[in-house]
Point group: C2
Chain length 184, copies 2
């Protein structure tokens, strides 16, 4: 249920979800990476109602992740191709795939990522392109960027501690609120 727009939120995660924060959209992108392009291909793959599919495809085109391309003039027929922005969604899908395999495949994985040359299984990990350092707890932090204008989602200075747990001040404030009966 997407009753709220997150477009005004500054957080880049919220803004991303504004465009794809819905099952069907992400599964459509998954299928687009698998080579599907046409309405009926998506419909068959997903088993989704046509009106829902139309809405999601249009939203993905509007958000610039897919583009419609005429492949037949008479009668006019379109197919949907990933844009550069859509292709950039690849790491998120791969991370979801790895997470799903790890946590929701009690019977073993049904889809395995392998190296195209060696065929060896791939264990995807996020690293810093510049240093090769894995992005693990304690190796990175977030700071406000040039466009930050409110404290929502980012605070000045090193926020690592805050990423882990609220500051002592926040905890004290919480205790005070708790004493006033505002916490649940």
């Amino acid at each position: 249920m997407q009753r709220t727009s997150f477009a005004d939120m500054q957080c880049p995660i919220a803004r991303s979800l504004e465009r794809v924060g819905e099952w069907w959209s992400i599964l459509i992108l998954r299928d687009a990476f698998r080579g599907l392009r046409r309405f009926d291909e998506f419909r068959t793959s997903l088993g989704v109602a046509p009106n829902m599919l139309t809405r999601r495809l249009n939203a993905l085109v509007e958000a610039g992740l897919l583009r419609r391309e005429l492949y037949c003039a008479h009668p006019p027929r379109h197919e949907y191709r990933l844009t550069e922005r859509g292709k950039d969604f690849r790491p998120i899908l791969l991370a979801l795939l790895a997470w799903g395999n790890r946590h929701f495949s009690p019977e073993g994985p049904s889809v395995v990522l392998v190296d195209i040359d060696s065929g060896a299984p791939i264990d995807p990990v996020l690293v810093d392109r510049n240093t090769g350092r894995p992005l693990e707890p304690g190796s990175y932090t977030t700071i406000p960027g040039p466009a930050a204008k409110s404290p929502a989602g980012a605070r000045p200075g090193r926020t690592k501690e805050r990423l882990r747990r609220p500051s002592a001040g926040a905890r004290r404030e919480r205790e005070r609120r708790h004493e006033r009966g505002q916490m649940r």
Copy 2:
């Protein structure tokens, strides 16, 4: 609108979305990584209706991403902590953050990932943990895993070509369907 359950789908992406394929859930996880733990903290951060927040928190607990922990016995008060499964969601959030910064921050990023030691900006990239090779088009493919039992989402053998575009056979079938007027 989550009217369909994807739990029966074999695809690990679909199974992951079953658990978190909804804006609020992902933003709750984002906030949990930022150190938020209590109902009112999430409510204040997200501006979400309490009944919706309750539903999403319960769903995340049920899916094993958060656990409820008593922090006050009289009156009973709970907070929500990331489980190991929840913590494993980190790469997906970071990939969403990077994608959002790249594509939906026309005014410049509001949140920047930096190395905790050097303070240098981080450019997250997904690599194979074993080889360090970036997961870019043409470097990997997917194959059916031990639990694969249907052609949905995976086909035997190297599927790289299929990931890129349908096979010649599929294209011919498409042409036939198109001639019968089934394509749109």
